[in-house]
């Protein structure tokens, strides 16, 4: 992997159906920011041990260069659950705002040209 291509991970849990939408939106954001949409590392969090190891606070979780695109608060418990996101217009959502995802990608790969 080149220095300008951050590792992008999507962690998901089967009890929450939103991860496929999140993956599609993540791939679109990668393409928008000049990164490879197929470079996403997609990993299932299958149980409590996985969740503890990953510090997983809910599905889906998207990390860019190891940083959560919407970092959870310090009190957020590790849990096999669906994550609650808030879109920029204030609506509750099971997926992060695509604009937040794009911002995280651009911050991690500032030399990439948007497409």
């Amino acid at each position: 992997m080149s220095a300008s291509a951050p590792e992008v991970e999507l962690l998901w849990w089967a009890g929450c159906p939103s991860w496929q939408q999140a993956l599609a939106e993540l791939r679109a954001a990668l393409a928008d920011t000049g990164l490879d949409p197929e470079s996403v590392v997609v990993r299932e969090v299958g149980g409590d041990e996985d969740a503890q190891r990953e510090r997983f606070v809910g599905s889906p979780t998207i990390r860019v260069a190891g940083a959560d695109v919407q970092p959870p608060g310090p009190e957020e418990p590790v849990s096999l659950t669906c994550r609650i996101y808030h879109l920029r217009d204030g609506r509750v959502s099971p997926t992060p705002d695509p604009a937040d995802v794009r911002d995280a990608l651009r911050a991690a790969a500032p030399d990439k040209e948007p497409t």
């Binding site: 089967a14 009890g15 929450c16 159906p17 939103s18 849990s79 659950t81 669906c82 994550r83 609650i84 996101y85 609506r91 509750v92 959502s93 099971p94």
Partner: protein
């Protein structure tokens, strides 16, 4: 309580459950009853919540009773504890429907509830007439619980419910181990 969940046209299982209002609630004599399996921490349940409350208010004077039921395992998910349920309703200044606690999950199992939310509509004889999502898009408030409202309108007007079953969409119910 039956272990076979009702299909459309079957009698709905009865229950007696405590609610955050301190009362115990059961099926009654209303023209229609809407049962919503929901919870405190699911983004889908939260996204649909205001639409469901609005429907409860809009249909209250037409003899429709709404009951919200939380069946999630509160030991593993403390955000769904009875105390947390009470705190949520109090913080909202009250809801137009009671919020029932299904601690042993018998009611969710009896109905075959799968997700939060999962909506069941019963007619005046407590026969199941609709089951599924409130509308087709959790992300669009203007969808306005249209599928639920269509089912209620049909029942109240003595018509068959045109679409009696849709796929419930939401977080899985958190079953006890």
């Amino acid at each position: 309580m039956s272990t076979v969940p009702p299909a459309i046209g079957d009698p709905a299982p009865g229950f007696d459950l405590p609610a955050t209002d301190g009362e115990t609630h059961a099926l009654g004599e209303e023209a229609a009853t809407v049962i919503v399996f929901t919870c405190n921490h699911c983004p889908y349940a939260l996204a649909w919540h205001d639409r469901l409350l609005a429907a409860a208010e809009d249909y209250a004077d037409r003899g429709v009773r709404f009951l919200a039921i939380n069946s999630n395992d509160a030991e593993r998910y403390p955000a769904d504890s009875y105390e947390a349920m009470k705190e949520r309703v109090a913080a909202d200044g009250g809801w137009p429907m009671p919020y029932l606690h299904d601690a042993n999950q018998d009611v969710a199992r009896a109905y075959g509830a799968q997700t939060t939310p999962d909506v069941f509509v019963l007619d005046g004889d407590d026969t199941l007439r609709y089951r599924g999502a409130a509308d087709g898009d959790h992300s669009d408030p203007s969808a306005n619980a249209a599928w639920l409202r269509a089912a209620l309108d049909a029942l109240l007007e003595g018509r068959e419910v045109e679409t009696s079953e849709t796929e419930p969409v939401g977080c899985s119910i958190k079953w006890r181990p």
